[in-house]
Symmetry: C2
Subunit: 493 residues, 2 copies
């Protein structure tokens, strides 16, 4: 029944809850922050899934637990989780920690609001606008629109949907049946979200034309034009080109200016998936890699990758100034977007997205930017390039490491060739044997917890490592360590 | 250039960064937690947008700021943000704070990983599985599948996409052009994400048939059957019914058993959007509201609403046991889902979603569940019902408050009728004048910061308040306060 004292129902009063929060924060700080970046600690404490499930006692039961029990659960979750903040974590396109961004995340979580209206998110509505405007200005646009999305995959989907609505506004009401068959274009090394997007939006993966890449992994613009012709000849209407600035595996940049020429010529929407590579815009030295990005119609840019804001932070930026984004996505729900509000309703940006509740993703980026400034962010980008450069150079000095090609970006793709395979390039089972080396080293590194680097096959190339350097805390010694460690783990294979 | 000391680039060393983190946490605790729930503090500190923009100094500049400056920014962001944890915040379907869930969120942010593979999220891959299994078991399914989505709108889209793929698997490759025109059905009071989903998936909003609701806001099952016939007669193929368990504004429950009968009869996919109302499954007393939910093919359930986990936490649950979810959404990226991993690849659940990077959304729910147990959660649900009951009863004792109808759930919809309008129901401008009352009171409550309650028009009914009770910390006195306050703010209108 109802009673005015809610302590019983809560399990804890506010005072007890706040005490727990403070105690838990100390443990989070110790286990996930302090140990999480300590080189003397492991980057991961590998456990077999069955074993880990037992250790964690994950089952949810009828009755609750004491604070002490819960604190040890916090400790365990931290202990057995991968330390992505650790200087030996090179496994994904995110790594390392920025303490300002982390503070932004903690504050976001504590305030717990949704980004849709000025009413419930006054600070964040204004902040998101400033951050998006700034990102757009770096792209080269003095006006435009945008919204933060839950990840780059969603941002890429937004782009595809927007291009479709732009060209065929009836699609929103009438669906794809009222449209000719569409064709979209993306390079064979582009991110898989383009395929997922085409499937999800009802366009179908068969209507995604895969454009060839050159030796470095950049889109072959001639082949793009060929594929546009091919699509036409097959009765489809070319709609949309996804150019990639920083491919996922090889870090290649598509030739944006050439692609823009082609899109202009054929009247196609040009999207740049700069989820990974967009951050080179900070660097005077490396910005040339995305020359022509300002000619795009839309851009995906994930600060949660190279800028170390923490997941999730993906900006979807649009050059359009006609409110296309909102017209495309709006549903005008009257319970959220009342027409008789006492403030300027254009501040309620919730209808620019297909989401309803939307996490606040701007604060972490904003606070970090305030902390180190555009110059500080630029320095970090330059530094990551230099680190990757150093890594590739050192590799060439060592026997047994083989670069697949000269890196353009901070992805370094290479094979480690154990002594037993050196000089055997021409034996029949060489490829077969070499393809097993990376997975074997990977297993060892995970089980020993010393470093984490990913591997994959690509375009017919057998399993190779992809080293990614983004964390601002990485030093040259970490680069050396990584090479030493791969050698140590693989030399007997 | 590269140097082995990264302090310059970072702006701070680890030690300084960690010191900043600890100092900032104290401020977050004081400003957003302690003051954020204090009845003597305002629920919001209203500022005009132009004024707020000035106060916050949002601009992003070339150079960074000192720690002291940043700490005062943290303080300002907290100060001017709406306190959704506050006992006087009734504005959305989320409110209040659970300290365990908050700890789960802070730990999630600190560990900063993505949910796609066992490799980088071993704890969370296992944890998500356990949590989803438990939620499914509450729905009544001993097997099945699921994934956490960035919000209920996305979960609802997943359902629509899954139903389409289930019936017409060729859609993934060939797109909607290879399919007959589809029809989907949802009540006129269902959430707008169904419309957004239909537009986004290329189905088109014209193919969403709006089913009538009865006086309380529940779907009229006879009309559903009528609309199915209508769609057929118009040459469309009925595919999908979205039933709502807990509508957004009125908190109505659609008759799930009757809808299941109709879906079975016509061979349609039945989805239950229980984003809001799913949590009644915890309550023995109120569970009957969703009787028949186990007959659905899929369910959306948002613990970030009634269970107070914090945004975002939306479970998409599927009854299917044939890996439909993964078959529908997968792209089999070889750089993430290598086929030669040394552990059981079925643990890598990233291909069940259209996202790539995916925030960890399970930990906050899991930790809260561990803390207070299924029974504690059940008590909270019962308590929220009782609070809402009390609110409606008290209202009937007061002059000037008028319920729109007897509430089924924890949404209470009502008009406040100021003395100047009482007894004037039959005057010609009554509706016009009454429709201005809620917005006027709303403006005053925001500017004075004493409470936050939302209003909206609906189905031809003029602006009314929607009171929502979910926070476990709410007491009867808070209910009384809310009524007093609306009276105080509106009596001279
Ligand atoms: C080039 C590229 N685009 C898009 C994405 C997707 O971003 P997200 O993981 O945020 O969905 C990625 C992720 O790695 C990527 O590398
Ligand atoms: C019934 C219903 N379904 C779906 C949603 C969407 O959930 P989300 O805001 O998480 O996208 C809502 C949000 O209020 C809702 O009330």
């Amino acid at each position: 029944g109802v009673n005015a004292h809610c302590e019983d129902v809560l399990g804890f009063s506010h005072a007890e809850g706040q005490h727990f929060l403070n105690e838990a924060f100390k443990i989070i700080f110790e286990e996930a922050v302090r140990k999480g970046i300590d080189k003397n600690e492991k980057v991961c404490v590998w456990q077999d899934p069955a074993q880990l499930e037992k250790l964690l006692d994950l089952d949810l039961r009828d009755c609750g637990e004491t604070h002490d029990q819960l604190l040890s659960r916090v400790r365990d979750v931290a202990k057995y989780s991968v330390k992505t903040n650790h200087p030996r974590f090179f496994n994904q396109l995110y790594s390392g920690v920025d303490y300002h961004a982390l503070v932004g995340r903690l504050l976001t979580e504590t305030l717990n609001t949704s980004q849709y209206t000025y009413e419930v998110a006054p600070v964040f509505v204004l902040m998101e606008r400033v951050v998006l405007t700034k990102l757009r200005s770096m792209v080269g646009w003095s006006s435009g629109d945008g919204v933060f999305c839950p990840g780059g995959s969603m941002s890429n989907m937004f782009a595809m949907n927007l291009s479709r609505y732009h060209t065929f506004p009836q699609v929103k009401q009438q669906g794809l049946w009222s449209l000719p068959r569409l064709a979209v274009f993306t390079s064979q090394e582009s991110h898989y979200s383009v395929m997922k997007g085409a499937a999800f939006l009802g366009i179908g993966t068969d209507h995604v034309y895969s454009v060839k890449t050159n030796q470095q992994g950049s889109m072959d613009a001639d082949d793009l034009e060929g594929k546009i012709m091919l699509a036409r000849s097959q009765g489809a209407v070319p709609l949309y080109v996804n150019a990639t600035a920083g491919t996922t595996v090889r870090g290649a940049f598509d030739p944006l200016d050439r692609i823009a020429d082609i899109c202009e010529k054929h009247g196609l929407w040009m999207h740049v998936d700069a989820a990974w590579g967009g951050s080179v815009l900070f660097s005077e030295k490396h910005r040339h890699l995305v020359k022509g990005i300002d000619r795009a119609n839309s851009v995906t840019w994930n600060p949660h990758k190279m800028l170390t804001t923490g997941l999730q932070c993906s900006a979807f930026l649009v050059r359009d100034t006609t409110n296309l984004l909102q017209r495309c996505h709006s549903a005008n729900a009257t319970y959220l977007f009342q027409q008789d509000k006492f403030y300027d309703m254009s501040l309620d940006t919730g209808d620019k997205t297909v989401q309803c509740g939307r996490k606040v993703d701007c604060l972490k980026l904003w606070l970090m930017w305030k902390a180190i400034g555009t110059k500080g962010l630029a320095e970090r980008i330059d530094r990551a390039f230099a680190m990757a450069r150093y890594f590739a150079e050192e590799m060439e000095k060592r026997e047994g490491f083989q670069l697949l090609y000269e890196p353009q970006f901070v992805n370094t793709c290479f094979w480690y060739i154990p002594p037993s395979l050196r000089g055997k390039e021409n034996t029949t089972d060489y490829k077969d044997r070499l393809s097993k080396v990376a997975p074997a080293i990977k297993e060892r590194m995970m089980k020993q917890g010393t470093i984490m680097v990913g591997y994959q096959p690509l375009n017919g190339e057998i399993n190779f490592f992809r080293m990614v350097v983004v964390s601002p805390h990485i030093s040259l010694r970490d680069m050396d360590f990584c090479l030493d460690e791969i050698e140590r783990l693989g030399k007997d294979l």
